[in-house]
């Protein structure tokens, strides 16, 4: 299905070890378990060295894409990130967020084609913080690392992406963030038309990738669109278009690598269910939306509630039941008060 004539021979360079991790603003706030579990997977399961720096900041992607932070500021902040990476003794940069990834690539490309901007950035950083920086040798997104080690992880996972009662592969929709490959196709595994990064992982772990007509349609996140409430309907309409297109395929699970896409596909299903009584998944239920780190974690056997799956607005219990993962209903909200779940999603 995903046969890419030219991309088969193209290997994206992904470093093997010693990563410097740059966290995501959104993912940390909405699905905080995801990043912690990624670090745990890399350290405990894959035995890699990954550095979690408390001194690093946002990449200013949200501000830059909403035109409230000028490009020079963004470049200087990014330069500081690289400087912190050098200070910690690392050369391989790993971004958690796809927008960050796109922004870092954009800035690196600008510095490459317009060397005067690099000189200016060096000057600004020196004046603002007294720091100097070197460019990273390797810059990848966190999902690239999971893709790289998908075969090793395949031998470690306790559950495959199959319905453990019927042994049928699960129908999985993969949604790759726009900034991953659409801007710089050669920096994404598999190019821009059929990015391989998530579909490769799903297929290696036994799932069935669903190719539906609106597969490459943007989820509608796009910063400018949703930041103002009066525009949010526009973003909502985009995600709805995707979800309606997925409906005939009886989807069990959506996987994303971008925190914004994950948040939207999750939340807009909630809005569609409550406002319009619409459900898009198999057996007339909503489709659980997981980040790739969360999926890896639950397949490896981590406790779903410690991973943070209760933070998703679409209930994940049907998926856990299909996978055969046991979970405790009482532990779901630990000691906090459980939120009120609308009847349509209370199954």
């Amino acid at each position: 299905m995903d046969n890419n004539l030219n991309w088969d021979k193209f290997e994206k360079e992904i470093a093997n070890n010693h990563y410097y991790y740059a966290r995501s603003c959104i993912r940390q706030n909405f699905f905080p378990g995801a990043e912690e579990i990624f670090i745990n997977i890399l350290r405990n399961n894959l035995k890699k060295d990954i550095y979690d720096d408390p001194k690093h900041t946002t990449c200013t992607g949200i501000g830059y894409h909403s035109s409230i932070i000028p490009l020079e500021t963004t470049m200087t902040v990014i330069a500081r990130q690289f400087s912190l990476m050098n200070e910690a003794g690392y050369q391989n940069f790993v971004c958690s967020c796809v927008t960050s990834f796109g922004l870092y690539l954009e800035v690196l490309s600008t510095w490459h084609h317009f060397p005067e901007t690099l000189e200016k950035t060096k000057k600004y950083l020196k004046e603002a913080t007294g720091r100097t920086f070197e460019l990273p040798k390797n810059l990848v997104h966190a999902s690239d690392i999971i893709y790289k080690f998908r075969n090793e992880l395949a031998s470690m996972i306790k559950y495959k992406l199959i319905n453990f009662k019927t042994q049928e592969p699960l129908n999985v929709v993969e949604h790759v963030g726009c900034h991953y490959a659409k801007i710089f196709p050669e920096s994404g595994i598999g190019g821009a038309e059929y990015p391989r990064v998530l579909s490769g992982i799903i297929e290696t772990w036994g799932g069935r990738v669903i190719d539906y007509p609106e597969r490459r349609h943007c989820c509608g996140f796009g910063f400018r669109q949703y930041l103002v409430k009066s525009n949010r309907g526009y973003s909502y309409s985009h995600s709805l278009k995707k979800l309606e297109s997925m409906k005939p395929y009886k989807v069990d699970l959506i996987i994303t690598n971008c925190p914004g896409c994950n948040y939207f596909l999750d939340r807009w299903q909630y809005v569609a269910a409550v406002n319009e009584n619409k459900l898009f998944g198999r057996d007339n239920k909503a489709i659980p939306v997981l980040t790739f780190e969360e999926l890896t974690a639950i397949l490896l056997g981590y406790n779903p509630w410690k991973v943070g799956l209760q933070m998703h607005q679409i209930p994940v219990e049907p998926l856990l039941d299909k996978l055969g993962i046991s979970y405790s209903k009482e532990e779901k909200y630990f000691k906090t008060k459980a939120p009120k779940i609308p009847t349509i999603l209370n199954y």
């Binding site: 949010r232 309907g233 309409s237 809005v271 409550v274 406002n275």
Partner: protein, 110 residues
């Protein structure tokens, strides 16, 4: 709870769902309609087009796509001057087609 998000309406032409009955009717009563290539000469010379939104080549295309609502809204602005027929390079009977459209829409109360 209400979220007050106004869903935007799609502007896509969903060809599969459109009803092209008007097109088949016109093909029968005015076969020259098949020759139109939407070159726009008719629209360029149209008298009504100077002061209204009447765009005859868009109407010809909409007939083929089955966009009845658009046609019904716009076609009544035609003043029947016949200039479009004089300039058409394919000899399409444009004025005749307009009369047939109006008659069809009236009899089916669209």
């Amino acid at each position: 709870m209400s979220f007050d998000y106004l869903k935007k309406n799609d502007r896509v032409i969903y060809y599969d769902n459109n009803d092209r009955a008007l097109y088949y009717y016109l093909k029968r009563v005015e076969p020259s309609i098949s020759l139109c290539i939407a070159c726009g000469a008719c629209t360029a010379t149209c008298s009504a087009g100077n002061f209204s939104s009447l765009d005859f080549h868009k109407i010809m295309l909409s007939i083929r796509r089955g966009e009845k609502v658009y046609i019904a809204k716009e076609i009544t602005q035609c003043v029947m001057c016949g200039k479009c027929m004089l300039v058409c390079p394919k000899n399409v009977n444009t004025r005749g087609i307009i009369l047939q459209i109006i008659s069809f829409l009236q009899s089916y109360k669209i």
